[in-house]
């Protein structure tokens, strides 16, 4: 991942070839009838459907809604996880009081909440955001909680000896330490935010990519279902890439491989 090795161009070519290869195998298997076209679709039609969505512009509204839901769930869940994680990690009393409840809420399969959220918040964006937040929150929360507890006692003692107040410790020691843990969880949580949005749409909505897929399934239009999945996957990769860029910007201080100098 790090550094520009001579091989990086080969890797890119290899990845692309692998993608083309997969589509070719899929195409051959369905064209020869080894796999039934009705259930497995045809890659060419899938690609055509996806392309026509973008050409006709039909997809933009749905994609926009799904992405807004994802970003709101991601942002809201991350912020909430960060605040609650910091608070509980630094206050042993409430932390031990709430421990079984947090464990329980985390162990609960929260996708089940989607219909309840639909009733509470309606079929619009809000119910999907709520579902996404419940998924993202726990990932970030546990990472922050762990991050704060893992702060080196020596770094902490040093900051105190340098005159840091409790507030300054929070801002200059606990928060940056937790941030590095949060970032390692963001790749998982951005995916989870996406899952929340699409599953929410799938279970009841009037717009969004999940809604498009649901409609296509109702019409046994397997090619459109796959087209929807394809578009979702592409944008999930895009979101993941954005997180990677943010990570590079904010975690410059973290060692990456062997960059230590000698005397």
């Amino acid at each position: 991942m790090h550094g520009k090795s001579v091989d990086s161009r080969h890797i890119f070519a290899g990845r692309f070839l692998l993608l083309v290869g997969l589509f070719l195998v899929w195409q051959v298997l369905t064209a020869t009838g080894i796999l039934p076209r009705f259930f497995f679709g045809t890659p060419l039609v899938v690609l055509e459907n996806a392309a026509s969505w973008f050409v006709s512009g039909k997809i933009y509204k749905h994609l926009g809604i799904t992405l807004i839901e994802t970003v709101l769930a991601f942002g809201g869940g991350t912020l909430l996880g960060l605040v609650v994680g910091l608070w509980l990690a630094l206050s042993p009393g409430p932390s031990s009081l709430l421990e079984p409840y947090i464990k329980g809420a985390n162990a609960m399969p929260r996708v089940i909440l989607a219909p309840i959220f639909s009733v509470w918040f309606g079929l619009g964006i809000l119910s999907k955001v709520a579902l996404g937040i419940t998924l993202v929150f726990f990932i970030v929360f546990f990472n922050v909680y762990e991050g704060v507890r893992e702060v080196s006692p020596v770094v902490l003692a040093n900051a105190r000896m340098l005159g840091a107040t409790r507030r300054q410790l929070l801002r200059h020691v606990y928060l940056p330490s937790a941030t590095s843990w949060v970032f390692s969880s963001l790749h998982t949580s951005v995916g989870m935010a996406f899952v929340g949005a699409v599953v929410g749409e799938y279970l009841g909505s009037s717009a969004g990519v999940g809604y498009l897929i649901l409609q296509a399934e109702g019409a046994f239009d397997i090619n459109t279902v796959f087209a929807g999945i394809l578009v979702l996957t592409a944008f999930a990769l895009l979101l993941d890439w954005i997180v990677t860029m943010l990570e590079r910007r904010f975690l410059r201080w973290r060692p990456t491989g062997l960059s230590v100098e000698t005397h």
Partner: protein, 270 residues
């Protein structure tokens, strides 16, 4: 002598609660009295695991003694010792701050303007031989460089007394001697009081005005004090070759050896 000591421990005892229920509490240091005069460089040597760091943490106010008093400049200490700077044995820099911001951290905690803090941090980086390294993060610096940053980070706050806990024990011999000379040079400029903890007797003699020998733990206490009358300024690698140094070394080692062997035996028996 001076009426007011820069740091004074009076009959300090520190007992830790047992880790397991029913076990006996562990007394790390017992009835330790120690005076450090203003501008004096005192080294404390003792066998490993004898409670040297506990003593320093008490002086810093990071740990409260079970009984006894700590006085800084004549006043009883409560909470952290605001007169003291602490150079830790382990890496203590903020890993998410570059060298300049690390040195400036203490100033920023005291609400000095960012620009002013950066300017003064840059000056200190030059003083410890790291001019031009301000933008490096700790992981991009060598062990010796990180110690220099830590030294600047502590000294920029102009503490009245500097506590050092085996600060150079993780460095290789050459870097270590360079750092020792540098500490002596910085110290000679404004003669702060220094309490230097080490298990290396040669280092202790080469640097100090006075060497205090501790007994093997548990219940460590001072068992000997040796004024070091070697002329200053000293070069730590040259002073080691003088006759007086060897004499002092023999004298102190005679006392220390028994404690080291005892400490070793106790550790072995568990």
């Amino acid at each position: 002598m001076n009426a007011v000591a820069a740091l004074e421990l009076q009959g300090v005892t520190c007992t830790f609660a047992p880790a397991v229920r029913g076990a006996r509490p562990y007394t790390a240091v017992e009835d330790v009295s120690l005076r450090v005069r203003p501008g004096e460089f005192v080294s404390i040597v003792g066998p490993t695991g004898c409670g040297k760091s506990t003593l320093l943490n008490i002086a810093a106010g990071l740990i409260a003694p079970t009984s006894g008093n700590v006085l800084t400049a004549g006043a009883p200490l409560s909470g952290l010792n605001r007169d003291a700077g602490y150079l830790f044995q382990a890496d203590a820099l903020l890993p998410w701050r570059d060298a300049r911001d690390n040195v400036a951290a203490g100033l920023r905690f005291r609400s000095v303007e960012p620009k002013e803090a950066s300017r003064r941090a840059e000056e200190w980086l030059v003083r410890v031989g790291l001019g031009g390294f301000g933008d490096r993060y700790p992981h991009q610096l060598s062990g010796g460089m990180r110690k220099r940053v830590a030294l600047a980070q502590t000294l920029i706050l102009d503490p009245k007394i500097v506590l050092m806990d085996e600060p150079f024990s993780a460095l290789d011999v050459q870097t270590r001697q360079l750092m020792e000379n540098e500490v002596l040079e910085l110290w000679s400029v404004d003669r702060k009081s220094v309490v230097f903890i080490t298990h290396d007797l040669e280092e202790a003699i080469a640097l100090s005005d006075r060497v205090v020998v501790l007994s093997a733990g548990p219940a460590t206490r001072p068992i000997g004090e040796f004024p070091i009358d070697l002329a200053r300024p000293r070069d730590v690698s040259e002073v080691r070759l003088t006759g007086r140094f060897l004499e002092l070394h023999r004298e102190i080692w005679d006392l220390l050896k028994a404690e080291v062997l005892e400490g070793y035996a106790r550790q072995k028996c568990g």
